[in-house]
Amino acid sequence: MQRYDAIKKIVENLSDELVISNIGFPSRELYGMCDRKENFYMSGSMGMATPIGLGLALALEEKDDSRKVIVIDGDGSLLMNFGELITVYAQNPSNLIIALIDNEAYGSTGSQETYASKVNLSNIARSIGYTEVTYIDARKSTDDIDMNVILNKKGPVFLHIKVEPGNTDAPIIDLSPSQIKNRFMKEVNK
């Protein structure tokens, strides 16, 4: 199983949850399989998916908006801005789910190996203090990914899904950055 299969399991039964997807193939694959107004497709700035998700989650909490924020992040991107895991933990957003799809590779650039092959990112999250850490090895099957269980946990949730590297032939996103942002904001603030 690859990233595409994991993303499919994460989003197939969502309702009003807000999703921030990482740059490159994660956003393209999400767009191709399940475009919705509640998706924000990141482009360009690697390592910023989780920060964007944190800012959004904190804003929703400030406004007593009960919707959840799901960040679909990758191992390479998380490693690029690793301090963010500390900031998320310290800010303690109860509505944030970091869905880390870990294929031990920089998938969008030719699947060069990341250091996620050498360190266990779940263990790092646990050592920081995250109490809701779920590790799922989905290299053979995604059957163990149950978003109903994950969505009922009090955040911040660290959902770590190990998959095989590889991309689909997902389409280029046919929306401009401003269209992505404006459509998303309209949905967030309706």
Binding site: M42, S45, P51, I52, L56, A59, P177, S178, K181, V188
Partner: protein
């Protein structure tokens, strides 16, 4: 009032209610004022770059964001300013302690001090040097208003001499 109080008043007047920060000695008092303000959500960050991402998310959630940092943080944030803030037209104001300018005593601050305005020029991001504390309240409000209507980042540079003046 001192040079910090008027920045705080300017942020309040502009309606800024979400602030991320990496500290600078010159921002010490401002950070304390913000921490004590229940109307402002303050998020200290580990690196300025993540601060911009967090502000982008907070803005989409309906808040009005600012970042407080030293100009060294600009060097940590070049790609996010171009590839997130500019690409998607996110507004934000940057309250920047501009170190490495005339009167600097720490040699490590000098290279970024010289590079700062050139980096903003390269990124095509507008900035204002704020010299006189009497003007900073009004400048902050105007900077946010312009940032919001244009969907562009806006930087305010407070150099070493600024912090020594009073209103």
């Amino acid at each position: 009032m001192d040079s910090t109080d008027v920045i705080y008043d300017g942020l309040k007047d502009a309606g800024i209610n979400f602030i991320v920060s990496v500290p600078c000695a010159n921002l010490k008092k401002l950070l304390k004022l913000i921490d004590e303000d229940d109307e402002i959500k303050h998020v200290p960050v580990t690196r300025e770059e993540e601060g911009f991402g967090i502000c982008a998310g907070a803005y989409m959630g309906g808040l009005k964001p600012a970042i407080l940092m030293q100009n060294s943080g600009l060097g940590n944030s070049v790609n996010v300013l171009a590839s997130l803030m500019k690409l998607y037209n996110f507004p934000i104001i940057m309250i920047i302690s501009h170190r490495g300018t005339f009167g600097e005593a720490v040699y490590g601050q000098v290279p970024m001090g010289k590079a700062t305005t050139k980096i903003f020029d390269s990124l095509d991001i507008r900035y204002e040097k704020v010299i006189n504390p009497c003007e900073s309240k009004e400048i902050i409000k105007k900077a946010w208003d312009l940032s919001e209507i244009s969907g562009e980042s806006y930087a305010l540079l407070f150099d070493i001499s600024y912090w020594k003046r009073s209103v």
